[in-house]
Amino acid sequence: MLSVCAYFHVHQPYRIKRYRIFDIGNDHEYFNDSSETDLNNRRVLAKVAGKSYVPTNEVLLGLLKKHPEFRFAFSFSGVLLDQLESDFPDVLDSFKRLIATGRVEVLADTYHHSLAFFYSPKEFKRQIQLHSETIWRLFRVRPHVLRNTELSYRNDLAKWAEEYGFEGIMAEGWDHYLGWRSPNFLYRPKDCQKIKVLLKNYRLSDDIAFRFSERSFKGWPVTAEKFAHWVNAHHGTGETINLFMDYETFGEHQWEDSGIFHFLRALPGELMKHPETMFRTPTETVRALHTVGEFDVPHILTWADTERDLSAWVSNDIQRSAITELYALEENVLRTKNEKLIEDWRRLQTSDHFYYMCTKWFADGDVHKYFNPYASPYDAYIAFMNALNDLKLRIKTRIPARRRTPAVV
C-alpha cells in the first residue's frame, strides 16, 4: 500500500503597522493598520479568505462527501484563528464543518507561529498548550502530531515532543540529512523511542505549491492525472507520500485561472484509480507504519530556501537583535500578569516579522520581496523596534524598578 498524507498550513500574521518613533508611549495598538495597504491585517485576510480559504474549503468538503476514503490534516496558527474568530466567523465555521467530518485532523503548532523553541523552551511549551486548548475549544479535537513553525526541526525538538506525548512530528525531507534514503517512509528521530517523524516530500509538494503554474517547469501543465501518476510511481519504493503546503497555495499563490481548483477537485479520484493507493491523516500514518531508520538532525532544519535553515528569519544583525531583545523581555512581561501586554509580546514573536527583515536576496526582488508588505526590510525593523520599545515602556509602568530584571532599561 502507498498512503498519501497531506496537511495544509493555514496562517496569517498580525503585521505591525507603520509604527513610528513618535507613537512610542502614546499608541499601544501595533497591529491595527486600517490603510489600503498589505499592512492592514483585516484587509489581507479578507482577500486571502475570499480567494483561497472559502473556495478551497468548499472544494474539500465536496471531496470528503464524494470520496469516503479521502482524509487530510490542517495546521492552524492561533493568530490566524484569532483573526477568523473576531472578523470572519463564517470562514471559521467553514473550517469547523470540515473538521466535524472526523476525517480532517488538526496538528499541534505554536499558537503565535513563533520560533520560541530556539529562544525560550518554556515559552514554546506555553504556546503549544495554548494552541491545543484553542483547537479543543473551537473544533473539539486534540492534536497528536506536532508541526513546528516554518517546519523547523532539530533532534532536541523531537525529544521534547516525545516527552510531551506527541506520537508524530513533521520535518522537511531534506537530502542533506536523508542521504540516499527516501522521505517516503517513517523514521525514528535520534535519541527517541516512540515518536515517529513524517518527512515532507518536497519535490512533489513543491510541484503543486511552487511550480504549478510555472511554464518553464518541465512537468507543466500539472494535471491531476499526471500528478497521480508521479505519486503512484512510488509504489514499492515508499510507504507514504507526505504532501505539506501552505493552504494559500490554492487560489492565492496559484491563482484560480491557473486551474488549481480544477486540479484539486480531480486529484483524489485520480490517485485512487490505483487500487493500492489510500489516504491517511498524519496520526493514522504514524499509527499504521513502522519506522525504517534513524533521522539525525543536529542543526536546525526548515522548509525554506535552498539552505533549509533559519537564515531567512535570523541571519542578519537586525533580525538577530530584534528577536534577542524580544525574548530578553520574557520574565518581565510575564511578571506584569497583564493579558493584553503578554499577548502583544507574543504577537511580536510571530516569525513573519523577522522574515520581513530578511536582506538575503533583497536586491534580487525575489520571493522575499513578494511576501513583504513593507517597502524594505529596514522599514520592517523600524516598525518592530518602535513597537518593542513601547512595550518596554508599558512593562516599566507596571513593574517597580527594583523588581525588574535588567533586561528592561
Partner: protein, 407 residues
C-alpha cells in the same frame, strides 16, 4: 574609437556632481581604450594623462569654487545673482550667452580633429555638441545629468534652459539619462520617445577622488563628542536639494533626541534662508553650516557622521550618498532620486514626509544594529557601482549607435 566629449566643469574645478561624473566616466572610458578628446570652455590645470583636453578659450568664465571660493551656479537664476554681485563683468550678459559662445568656438576648436562620436554633457554643452555634429556629421549623444525641472524643484523649468535642452535632445541621435527617474522626466517634459533614451547609472570612486586610500585614518571631527550623534547633509543649498525639509526634520528629531548635531555642508542661494530657518525652529545650537567642503575635509565629515541624509526634491542621480556609503556611513535618501534605484540597502523616504524622515533618522540613531547593517550592506551596493561599469555601457551604446548609422 575616438570620442569628442563636451563638458562644462572638471575636478577640482567643479561645484558638484556634473564635474565628478564627467571625470569618472572619461577616465573609465580611457581605460576601455576609448580616445577621449575632452572639451572644456576654459583652460584649467588638470593632470589626467589618459585624457586629451581642448579648451575653448572662454578664459573669463568663472568656475564655481575658483574665484569666489563659494557657490556653484548650475541654475541660471543663481548665475545672474552671482553675476550681479560680481565686479569684473567683462563679458556676455548671462550664462546663456556663454553657452552660445562656447558653441560658436567649436569650429576652430575641432578643426583637424578626427572622432567617431560626439558626447555632450548637460545643457550647458548641448549647443556645442550640436555645432560639432553640424560641421562633421558625426552622431551626437547628449548625456542628461540633470534637467531644468530638477533645478526648478521638480515641476517647473527655466524656459530658456528648457529650450536648449529640448533642442539638444531632439538633435541628438541618442540620449543617455543618469536614471530611470530622469528618463521619465525627459519623456514627460520634453516629449522624447523612450526608445531613444538609455539609462547609464553613475559610478563612484572607491577612493572618493581624494587620491588617498579610504582606509586611511581620518582625524575625527571636534563635534564627535561621546553621547552625541551627527547627521550630515552635503549638497548645494538650493530648492532642488531640499535643505529646508532636512532642517524641519531636524527640529522633530531634536524633540526626541536632543543630543544630535546636524551638519550642513554646502552653499547656495538658500544659505541665508536656511540659517534663518534654523533660528526660527530654535535649533541653531545644534545645526552647523560648514560651507562648501571638498576632498579630505568632506571625507572627514562623511566618516564622522552617524547618518547621511539626501532630502532632494528632485535628484536625477545623486553621487553623495554613494560617497557616504564608501566612507562607511549609512544613508537616508529621497525617493525622488535616481540613486534610490540602485541602492537597496538605504532608508528611503518621500522628501515631503518630514515625520517619516525624522522617524527614520531617530531609528538609526537609536538602534545600532540598523546603522551597522545599513552601512555594511550599503557599502557593498556602492562598491558595485563602478565607473568601469558605466563606461562599458557607454562603449556598448557607441557601438550600437555607429552600427545604426552605417545601416
Amino acid at each position: 574609437m575616438r570620442v569628442l566629449m563636451f563638458g562644462w566643469e572638471f575636478p577640482p574645478y567643479n561645484s558638484g556632481g556634473l564635474g565628478v561624473a564627467c571625470s569618472g566616466l572619461a577616465r573609465a572610458l580611457a581605460k576601455e581604450n576609448v580616445d577621449i578628446l575632452f572639451v572644456l570652455p576654459k583652460h584649467i590645470d588638470v593632470s589626467e594623462p589618459s585624457i586629451r583636453f581642448l579648451f575653448a578659450g572662454l578664459e573669463h568664465l568663472q568656475f564655481k569654487g575658483v574665484n569666489t571660493g563659494l557657490q556653484p551656479y548650475r541654475t541660471a537664476s543663481e548665475y545672474s545673482r552671482f553675476r550681479a554681485l560680481s565686479e569684473n563683468d567683462l563679458y556676455g550678459d548671462n550664462l546663456f550667452s556663454e553657452v552660445l559662445r562656447y558653441a560658436s568656438l567649436v569650429p576652430q576648436l575641432i578643426d583637424g580633429e578626427t572622432f567617431d562620436v560626439i558626447h555632450a554633457h548637460d545643457w550647458l554643452s548641448f549647443p556645442a555638441g550640436i555645432e560639432a555634429k553640424r560641421i562633421t556629421g558625426k552622431p551626437l549623444i547628449v548625456h542628461v545629468h540633470a534637467t531644468g525641472f530638477d533645478q526648478g524643484g521638480g515641476a517647473h523649468a527655466d524656459r530658456r534652459v528648457w529650450r536648449i535642452e529640448k533642442e539638444g535632445m531632439e538633435e541628438a541621435d541618442m540620449i543617455i539619462a543618469v536614471s530611470e527617474y530622469t528618463k521619465r522626466m525627459i519623456v514627460l517634459h520634453y516629449g522624447i520617445s523612450p526608445e531613444k533614451i538609455h539609462v547609464v547609472y553613475n559610478g563612484v570612486d572607491a577612493d572618493l577622488h581624494t587620491g588617498t586610500p579610504s582606509a586611511r585614518v581620518v582625524s575625527p571631527l571636534k563635534l564627535k563628542v561621546p553621547g552625541y550623534k551627527i547627521v550630515l547633509y552635503v549638497g548645494r543649498l538650493t530648492l532642488q536639494k531640499g535643505p529646508d525639509y532636512f532642517l524641519r526634520a531636524a527640529a522633530l528629531v531634536l524633540k526626541h533626541n536632543p543630543k544630535t548635531f546636524f551638519i550642513i555642508a554646502g552653499s547656495g542661494d538658500m544659505e541665508r534662508q536656511m540659517i534663518r530657518l534654523a533660528a526660527e525652529l530654535s535649533i541653531s545650537a545644534n545645526v552647523f553650516f560648514a560651507g562648501f567642503v571638498r576632498g579630505g575635509e568632506l571625507e572627514r565629515l562623511y566618516r564622522s557622521a552617524d547618518l547621511f541624509v539626501l532630502p532632494s526634491v528632485s535628484e536625477p542621480f545623486g553621487i553623495t550618498p554613494l560617497e557616504s556609503l564608501i566612507a562607511d556611513t549609512p544613508v537616508l535618501i529621497s525617493k525622488q532620486s535616481g540613486v534610490s534605484e540602485v541602492v537597496s540597502h538605504a532608508l528611503k523616504v518621500d522628501f515631503w514626509d518630514i515625520e517619516e524622515m525624522a522617524n527614520k533618522i531617530i531609528s538609526v540613531l537609536r538602534y545600532p544594529p540598523l546603522k551597522h547593517e545599513l552601512s555594511r550592506e550599503g557599502k557593498n551596493d556602492a562598491l558595485r557601482l563602478t565607473w568601469e561599469r558605466a563606461a562599458a555601457k557607454c562603449v556598448m551604446l557607441y557601438r550600437t549607435l555607429l552600427a545604426m548609422i552605417q545601416t
